[in-house]
Symmetry: C2
């Protein structure tokens, strides 16, 4: 049996399941302080005989296995979790192989294995919620280099009628600064779910996300693009994205029919936890090879 | 012995060499019409006993081995080469494994094997010349999905003082449209090498390239960035790139010292042909595994 943790800024989803992505038992634990949250996480897993554990975590995190701070959550604004050795805490309680990556990379892996990109060796998973993040599978592997991608902070061109300054503390009007949930709320004065009948809100949202997709497509050429997260529940954004993206690409690269290419998660809200199960499975495989 | 072709819009560089990247013999053949150029290419290789041939080609090209037009140069503006079956032409003359990818992907592979990114499993190679293109190695493999990347056409934010409309026939003011050699010439009224003593030219060039690097870094997180091509011989651009990139990133992601991170090709002008030799070597390995 495998363990999986989708470690988020508001909740930790913990599950046990198998290599086929099947989830057998699942609990949700609030993200408070590490002492409290991690005790509950460990208590849950203690009930099972686990072969490996996979963690898809909020970040930034250190994914470089050569680094002395490998397995840490690093510079998060959630101060109690800053420089917290998440992998080490799990390994201390469970001496089994532990897989560790970003929540969005885990979701990309889950979608490639069992979701909207099932059977493909390439996909991009983007979440648009309180932040914007993305993970990518390229030639069957998660994109990783110096560190994990930070795709939510790419530059976009400001809409000529948009005078909102942007909310990112690092870049002001990067993609996340202009298009994540908190930016929508600050620009329009209300939370997204109160703005359902304001088409201009979702048109502008699509304008920015389309630019991001243009960059991702030209750089990664993903075989499927999956858009999840709270903001994307507003399905009208998809039509806006497709309209602006077609204008931007201008037939320079050949893409599949956009309504088939840019889709919601096939696993719904289970993409992250299913992908974390896959991280456990990969950690087990790697351990067997050693 | 291995054969390598760096197929460019103005010349085909052909070489024979070995798996260690050593080039034994090399010739340059002008790119005229396929009948003429390819006859000379084949005549050169006929002198040798080859085990495999690697081709790094100008594009766009079809790199999808499942596609009926795999191995073709596709929608190039060079009409004589449009829809030309380059791999098939080589395979007809030489019944050996043939590796095929973009010129910039080949260069990235060459730099990762023997150049500025030697020993790394991740790098990005960008050429800034008559066009802008880039190739990337991620976790030891070339980035490929739906097709090969087309990173030269990403969107950038226009400099507020730059009123030049842009030269890209598809996107007008994308990166290539604003920053490739022909754009420099059209904006300033002279070819780049006549503009050596105009610092504003190279400052603006760095302004645009830095934006591109920001996007590439956030999406791919490469371990080394290598900038080649005719325009980059103007070395003052590197300082401008570093200045603007540091402002853009604003310490959001941790990067190595920029002067060590963003460098010229370690192989100089041999990156492409050496990488093509690596494509031959990979094709041979794959063939052996089958």
């Amino acid at each position: 049996m495998l363990g999986a943790i989708e470690a988020g800024g508001t909740k930790f989803v913990c599950a046990v399941g198998d290599v086929s992505g099947q989830i057998i038992e699942q609990v949700t634990i609030p993200t408070t302080i590490p002492e409290e949250t991690m005790t509950a996480v460990i208590d849950f897993f203690k009930q099972y005989e686990l072969e490996a554990i996979g963690i898809g975590s909020f970040g930034p995190i250190d994914v470089d296995t050569e680094s002395p701070t490998y397995g840490y959550i690093t510079s998060t604004p959630k101060t109690a979790w800053k420089n917290y050795p998440l992998v080490q805490a799990i390994k201390e309680a469970f001496p089994v192989p532990v897989g560790f990556n970003t929540d969005v990379n885990a979701a990309a892996l889950g979608e490639a294995a069992f979701g909207a990109a099932k059977g493909l060796d390439s996909c991009l998973y983007i979440t648009v919620g309180t932040g914007i993040g993305a993970g990518a599978v390229v030639q069957g592997k998660l994109v990783q280099g110096l560190s994990h991608p930070e795709m939510g902070h790419i530059l976009v061109r400001r809409h000529p009628q948009d005078s909102y300054t942007g909310k990112c503390p690092y870049h002001k009007d990067c993609l996340e600064g202009l298009a994540a949930g908190p930016a929508i709320e600050e620009r329009w004065g209300e939370k997204g779910f109160h703005l359902v009948n304001r088409p201009e809100v979702w048109d502008l949202e699509g304008y920015y996300i389309a630019q991001a997709l243009m960059q991702y497509i030209l750089i990664l050429s993903p075989k499927k693009i999956i858009l999840g997260g709270g903001v994307m529940k507003q399905e009208t954004i998809f039509a806006s994205i497709n309209k602006y993206l077609a204008e931007l690409v201008n037939e320079y690269v050949a893409l599949p029919e956009l309504t088939d290419y840019i889709v919601s998660p096939g696993l719904g809200d289970r993409a992250g936890i299913t992908g974390s199960l896959m991280l456990a499975s990969l950690a087990l495989q790697e351990d067997d090879q050693q």
